[in-house]
Each structure stands twice: as structure tokens, then as C-alpha cells.
């Protein structure tokens, strides 16, 4: 033992004090991190100093004070009341809402179209599968921005209002955009909608209970009669008893404009069409690989157990496919939202467009780039948070 201790001491003596200090694991970890921190804060400080100097030289006052000033910036489409006399803050809010609105509709429509094409790609029908795969290849491999320009150019080539295309009664397509009828909105419609949402909740609860019952008691409960009563009859009864009108506000071409109904601008329409068609191609691939990820063995095992094909889909295939589909679908939804920023190129006034116009007017580029980044980071984080919660629910516990 003493021989051993002597050995250690001899070894320790060989190393100098400083050498052993620097070669200590903890010290070396600290040195690396301190160097990184120094580099980071050094460059941040350097950039900030340059910025301060440059702003002073250009007479730009930094800060968010400009947000309360009058914007004087016309925004054609706004979901909340807005006039150019409103403040920059309100203008940016309108832009953010426009971003959210186009992203929302794009996500919903792209999911529907993408799922349909994804399922079609796995079809046994050769023609259907082939056409779907051509769709995916065609729209996935051309830049979104180019597709937006293409749709926008085509929309502008549409005839003027006088010769507007009228594919279905009440729907007009012209170089002023797409017009379609809406219900004359009344309070009664609100109550009917509320009744529908409540009944939808009740139906999902009932469906869950029914399927649990079926597993426990071993006999199938009839689900559809209850669902029809809940989803169709109750809302209709609510609507009629409150006297909701069934009058549609029909769009009418009047001179150079269309009166009545709802008209979406060519800019919004082109952006929506572009985002939906482009992202549906990606969603189709996600859905297809999700469906294909459920191995043939699972189908065979389920069939061997005597499960009905419908039950195989609901109990075996979908739950497993969803696990594979949800994570990439989340990032695709984020891509849709980020892709909506291309609005600026075709003149739809989303947050990027409003902020860049404000930038040109005020010169507050740092603050406004910060605002854009803040808006997108908030949206990104919210979507990934929501999807993570959902994902945690559908994910299987794996060993």
C-alpha cells in the first residue's frame, strides 16, 4: 500500500501545479464554456455598439414608441375594424390576424386534400394511385413562390366582373377574386352553431362510451341513430325555434364590383390555392408513409383474429399510423404558417408585408424584424406545444 502511495506521489510531482489544474476535467469544461460565452457576448456587444453608432449617425431613435403613432397605411383586407388613421400597433395586429387566417384555412384545406391524395396513393386502383403520385411529384418539386406567382398570374387573367365565370349558381370567379354566398348572419345562427358544437362534444363522448361498452359487454350498440339526433336534429330544432332565416346573401355582379356575399381577394385566393396545393403534396406523402408503416403483419394478424375490415382500420391501422403521422405533420403545419410569409411577394397584407411597409415608412427596421420574429416564434411554439400534447396522447408507450 505504501509503495502504491509513493507511486501516486511521484506521479503527481511529475505534473506541475498549473498543468494539473488545467487538465482537471471540471476546470477544462469551465474554460471551454467561458470561451464560448466570451465569444458570444463579445460579438453581441460589438454588434450592439455598431448598431448604436449607426442609429445615431442616421438619426433613428430606437424603441417601440412608434407603435402608437398613426400608421397611414391602407390595408385592404382586415378581420377587425381598421382605417389608415389607426396606429402601427393595430396595423401589425391586422397583419398578424391575416397571417393566422390564411394559415388556418390553408392548414385545414391542405389536410383534407393531402389526406385524400395520400390515401389514394395506397389505393389498389392503379390509375388513382398513379395520378396521385404524379400530383405529389409535380407540386413538391417546384418552388412554392413560383407556384404562387403562377396562380396569381392566372387569376389576374380571369375575365372582369362583367364576364365573371359562374361555375355554380351563386359562385363568381373574376379578376376581382372569388365570390360566394353566405347566410345572413343573425343571433339565431350563433345559437344554432353553439348547439351544434355542444352536440358534437356530446357525440364524441357518446362514441367513446359506446366503444368502451362494446368491449366490456361484448355487443355492439347502435351509434348512428344517436349521432344523427344529436348532430342534425337538435341543431335544426334550435335553429327553427329561434326563427333563424335560411336566406342566403347572394353575390351579384354590379358594374365593376360584386355586391353581396363574400368576396376573397385574388391575393388571398392565390396564396390559399398555392399553399394548399403545395403543402397537400407533402401531407399526402406523410399520410402515405404513415399508412404504409403499419406492417403487413398487423393486417394479417388482425384478419387471422377474425376482425372486420372496418374494425381493422379503426382499431389496428389508424392508431398506429397516427403515431407515425403526427410528428412530421406538425412540422408541415409549421411550414404552412412560415410559407404564408410569401404573401409579401404577391401583395397579400400579412404580418411580413405590413411590417416591411412600416419599415420603409419609419426606418425602425430592428424593432419590426423583431416583431415579425416574435409573431412567428409564438405561432411556432404554440403549434408545437399543441401537437406535442396531442402526440403524447396518441403515442404508444415503448419499452
Amino acid at each position: 500500500m505504501t509503495a502504491l502511495n509513493n507511486d501516486i506521489q511521484a506521479h503527481n510531482r511529475r505534473a506541475t501545479m498549473l498543468g494539473s489544474f488545467v487538465s482537471n476535467v471540471a476546470v477544462r469544461r469551465f474554460i471551454w464554456q467561458a470561451l464560448a460565452a466570451l465569444a458570444l457576448f463579445g460579438s453581441v456587444f460589438w454588434l450592439a455598439a455598431n448598431l448604436h453608432h449607426n442609429l445615431a449617425a442616421r438619426n433613428i431613435a430606437s424603441g417601440f414608441g412608434f407603435l402608437t403613432r398613426e400608421a397611414g397605411l391602407p390595408i385592404a383586407e382586415h378581420l377587425i375594424a381598421y382605417t389608415p388613421a389607426d396606429s402601427y400597433f393595430r396595423a401589425l395586429l391586422v397583419g398578424t390576424l391575416n397571417t393566422l387566417s390564411v394559415a388556418f384555412w390553408s392548414i385545414i384545406l391542405a389536410t383534407i386534400l393531402g389526406t385524400a391524395i395520400g390515401v389514394a396513393r395506397t389505393s389498389k386502383n392503379w390509375l388513382l394511385a398513379k395520378l396521385s403520385s404524379i400530383y405529389v411529384d409535380l407540386f413538391r418539386d417546384v418552388p412554392l413562390l413560383l407556384q404562387l406567382f403562377l396562380w396569381y398570374t392566372i387569376l389576374q387573367k380571369l375575365p372582369p366582373v362583367r364576364q365573371a365565370l359562374n361555375p355554380v349558381a351563386g359562385v363568381f370567379l373574376s379578376n376581382r377574386g372569388l365570390s360566394f354566398p353566405v347566410v345572413d348572419w343573425q343571433a339565431a345562427h350563433g345559437w344554432t352553431l353553439l348547439a351544434f358544437v355542444l352536440c358534437l362534444l356530446a357525440t364524441t363522448l357518446y362514441a367513446k362510451r359506446a366503444s368502451r361498452k362494446q368491449l366490456e359487454e361484448g355487443r355492439a350498440k347502435s351509434f348512428w341513430p344517436v349521432a344523427i339526433i344529436l348532430l342534425v336534429i337538435i341543431p335544426l330544432v334550435v335553429g327553427f325555434s329561434l326563427g333563424a332565416s335560411t336566406n342566403l346573401d347572394m353575390p351579384q355582379p354590379k358594374g365593376f364590383n360584386i355586391r353581396g356575399g363574400v368576396t376573397v381577394s385574388p391575393e388571398f385566393f392565390a396564396l390559399l390555392v398555392g399553399l394548399v396545393i403545395y403543402n397537400a403534396a407533402f401531407i399526402a406523402e406523410i399520410v402515405r408513409s404513415g399508412l404504409e408503416s403499419v406492417g403487413r403483419g398487423q393486417h394479417e394478424a388482425a384478419r387471422a383474429l377474425g376482425l372486420h375490415p372496418k374494425n381493422i382500420l379503426t382499431w389496428i391501422v389508424f392508431p398506429q399510423a397516427l403515431r407515425v403521422i403526427v410528428p412530421p405533420l406538425t412540422s408541415q403545419y409549421l411550414n404552412v404558417t412560415k410559407g404564408s410569409s410569401l404573401a409579401v411577394a404577391i401583395g397579400y397584407q400579412d404580418i411580413v408585408s405590413v411590417a416591411t411597409t412600416s419599415m420603409n415608412q419609419t426606418g425602425q427596421s430592428i424593432e419590426l424584424v423583431g416583431v415579425i420574429m416574435g409573431v412567428y416564434l409564438t405561432i411556432s411554439l404554440s403549434i408545437s406545444l399543441l401537437m406535442n400534447i396531442y402526440n403524447a396522447r396518441v403515442a404508444l408507450v415503448e419499452r
Binding site: M1, A3, L4, D7, I8, A10, G19, S23, N24, V25
Partner: protein, 255 residues
């Protein structure tokens, strides 16, 4: 701890004193004391979860112990990078799952570390690697990739790879557990021949035959403690504790 070899005539290769380790609240090593002399062959056995793998992984700092002292070839296992580097050069290790580098050929697996760490020139490193591959009796596979070899061959390559660093001490962490039964023998034969050449070896294994043939000492661990230790004859022949008796009963039934 009484070692059968006399520490005054033979230098201590590994000295483990009062070592404790926790995973969170789980106490995996409890006051472990173990001295291994140079040239000694020690076999550590015990039920799974007894801490035997953790113990030998502490010797080359793959796991960090929290209390006590481990000294390897006169160098303490501590937070000093120079110490750790020196220990890694002196201690070779063979894993249960081989851990060969699948993107490198057998020869490259054996020459990489000597060239990078010891600064051996490529021709010398290759000559040495071929010599060791000859020794583990797979000289003709030098240019194949690990994925093309059987499990037994892979494990023998792993032994050759460790030997190429000319370690003073070899650690074996259940080297035959992942092998098909018919391949266990070829690996054990290699280890026996290594033992006969006087290599200091610490082996975690359940191979009783191997322990009887080559071990100077058998250490039985359970619940993070060394329960019994002594010659293979005394440990396997006259177990003193119930825990060891139970364990031997289970192992013998399996084999």
C-alpha cells in the same frame, strides 16, 4: 482483503478502496474493496444487477464512482484528464456487445487507436495488428468488415483490437453472454491463451469452467457488495453464504 498473491513481491495493478456509487437513490456499489496484483486473473461473478459490470466500468472511468479511491497502475482515477488518458492507454476492455466499428475493416479497427493515440506508423501498426489477429486465429479476415463475421469472430477481433494498444490490464465485461453457445468456446480459448501469457485480467463472466481453469481468484458480488472471494476451488467447492449457494445452484442448473 486477502489476496493469494503476495503484494510485496508483485506490484499492485488495480487497487479499489471503499468505493461507493449511486444511480440516483439506487446504491449500486457498497464499500467495495479489491486489490488485483500484476499478472493476476480475477473472475467476478454474481446475479444480474449485482454491480459487477458497474465495478469494472469504474476502473477505466466509463462510469464515475462517487466515493472511495481507485488506483490503476499507480495512477488515481480522478478528474485529471492526464490521469484518465494514461489509464485508458494502460487498460484494455472487451464488451458484451463487441462494439466493433462497423464502418472500418477488421484491420482498420485494430490499427486506428495505435496510430491515433500511440502515434505508431501505419506499417508498424498493421504488422502488429496482423500478429494479434493471427494470435486470436483469424488472420485471413483482416480486410472484411465486422458485419461479415460471426459473433465469435467479432469478439475475437475485439480482443485483438484491445491488445493492439499493448495494455497492461484487460477488462472483460461478460464477453460471451451475447454469443451463440457454439461460439463461446472459441472466445474462451482465446482468453485462456491470453491468461497463460501472464496478462492481468479482470473478467465479469458466468463461465465456471473458464474460472476454474485460469482464475487466481473468484469474487462473488451481490447487491453491490463483495460477498465472498477466494480461489475457484474454495469459492465453488465450499460456498460459505446462502446467497452464493443459491447463485451457484441457479448457474449450474442453467449449464
Amino acid at each position: 482483503m486477502i489476496a493469494e498473491t503476495d503484494p510485496t513481491t508483485k506490484a499492485t495493478a488495480v487497487s479499489i478502496q471503499k468505493v461507493n456509487k449511486w444511480y440516483g437513490s439506487l446504491h449500486v456499489l457498497r464499500d467495495v474493496d479489491l486489490d488485483v496484483a500484476a499478472g493476476e486473473r480475477v473472475v467476478i461473478c454474481g446475479p444480474s444487477g449485482s454491480g459487477k459490470s458497474t465495478l469494472i466500468r469504474c476502473i477505466n472511468n466509463l462510469e464515475e464512482h462517487q466515493q472511495g479511491k481507485i488506483v490503476v497502475d499507480g495512477i488515481q482515477v480522478d478528474h485529471n484528464i492526464a490521469h484518465l488518458d494514461a489509464i485508458r492507454r494502460e487498460v484494455g476492455m472487451v464488451f458484451q456487445s463487441f462494439n466493433l466499428f462497423p464502418h472500418l475493416t477488421v484491420l482498420e479497427n485494430c490499427t486506428l487507436a495505435p496510430m491515433l493515440v500511440r502515434g505508431v506508423a501505419r506499417p508498424d501498426a498493421e504488422a502488429q495488428a496482423r500478429a494479434y489477429l493471427e494470435r486470436v486465429r483469424i488472420p485471413d479476415q483482416a480486410n472484411k468488415f465486422p458485419g461479415q463475421l460471426s459473433g465469435g469472430q467479432q469478439q475475437r477481433v475485439a480482443i485483438a483490437r484491445a491488445l493492439c494498444m499493448k495494455p497492461k490490464i484487460m477488462l472483460f465485461d461478460e464477453p460471451t453472454s451475447a454469443l451463440d453457445p457454439e461460439m463461446v468456446k472459441e472466445v474462451l480459448d482465446t482468453m485462456v491463451s491470453l491468461a497463460k501469457d501472464g496478462m492481468t485480467m479482470i473478467c465479469v463472466t458466468h463461465e465456471m469452467g473458464f474460472a476454474r481453469e485460469v482464475a487466481d481468484r473468484v469474487v462473488f458480488m451481490d447487491h453491490g457488495q463483495i460477498v465472498e472471494s477466494g480461489s475457484p476451488h474454495s469459492v465453488f467447492g465450499q460456498p460459505r453464504t446462502d446467497r452464493l449457494k443459491l447463485f451457484l445452484g441457479q448457474v449450474l442448473r442453467e449449464h
